[in-house]
Symmetry: C2
Subunit: 148 residues, 2 copies
DNA sequence: ACCGGTTGGTCAAGCAGATTGACTATAGGA
DNA sequence: TCCTATAGTCAATCTGCTTGACCAACCGGT
């Protein structure tokens, strides 16, 4: 593959990612959740299964734990999560979603389905499942990084 | 498609985009271009064809023109671009890449090819061209937005 | 049991990138 | 010739993140 093709592919991918993020965020806001930023969604995704510590979250988001702690402060203040004592470790605190946090997560899923649905119109169901499979195969396992 | 599938697809796409951005930037830095941020690459892409005004850049990057102007200040200071009087409009200034700017752009293309090359190992040539085609079809035409 | 190093979390200060607001100079149509 | 829209900059401010310092709790070896 030529370098210029790789660049065009990269640009398309990043444009799609940026647009997707924007649409999901718009959709969440449109559903009545104000003051949420895209980064919160990634935090919610990590918190959802059963809570997480600030350090877990920091590693997941690829930021310092101070930054993660500030983000938690913010979503706690806005009512999306709460800090609880950690059952096994007295130093740690388990951050878990509140009911409002779950509602916001569901709203994000709906918004994502809406945005992705637009692609189905362009690609068709068959190619969409191919795309999903391909992305799953090349997705990294490291921390989620902001695109730029 | 279920909401949870859309969310998984979105997460995979954003993870891939974040990783790609990170790798391209790493590759550019490794080739000796210091003090460059991912956002600069998107600016370079817009400047490359024949220069652009600050206002063009602002629209392309989806930021205010003050922010775009500051970014131009930075890449000018670092020697990647220069401001010239605009041939048609005395108010405007045409920002064009210097030779160093072109070199950096080529380095970014190489880094992109390297990063994308890793996917070829996972998907094979055939599926890669499918992916390229699919992304090109769903890529938006609006401004490039930071992923989060 | 205790001690030393590691780990989870917060406080505080500072920085970098972006925004809003105000302003000047040129463009361009009525 | 106005009058408005546009290109660009200056200045102040905000926000999210980083670095650095610190305390409390865990845990392995002795």
């Amino acid at each position: 593959m030529q370098n210029s093709e790789a660049m065009a592919l990269s640009a398309a991918l990043l444009a799609v990612a940026g647009e997707l993020t924007h649409r999901i965020n718009e959709g969440v806001v449109a559903r009545g959740f104000e003051g949420v930023r895209p980064a919160h969604g990634f935090a919610f995704a990590r918190l959802a299964p059963g809570g997480a510590t600030v350090t877990d979250l920091a590693a997941h988001l690829g930021v310092t734990k101070q930054a993660a702690s500030q983000l938690v402060d913010e979503i706690v203040r806005k009512g999306y999560a709460e800090r609880r004592p950690h059952p096994q470790d007295a130093r740690a605190r388990l951050v878990v979603l509140t009911e409002q946090g779950w509602a916001c997560t569901r709203a994000a899923e709906e918004a994502a389905a809406e945005a992705v649905g637009a692609w189905v119109e362009l690609l068709g169901e068959g190619e969409m499942s191919v795309l999903r499979d391909q992305l799953a195969r090349i997705a990294p396992h490291g921390p989620l990084r902001p695109a730029w």
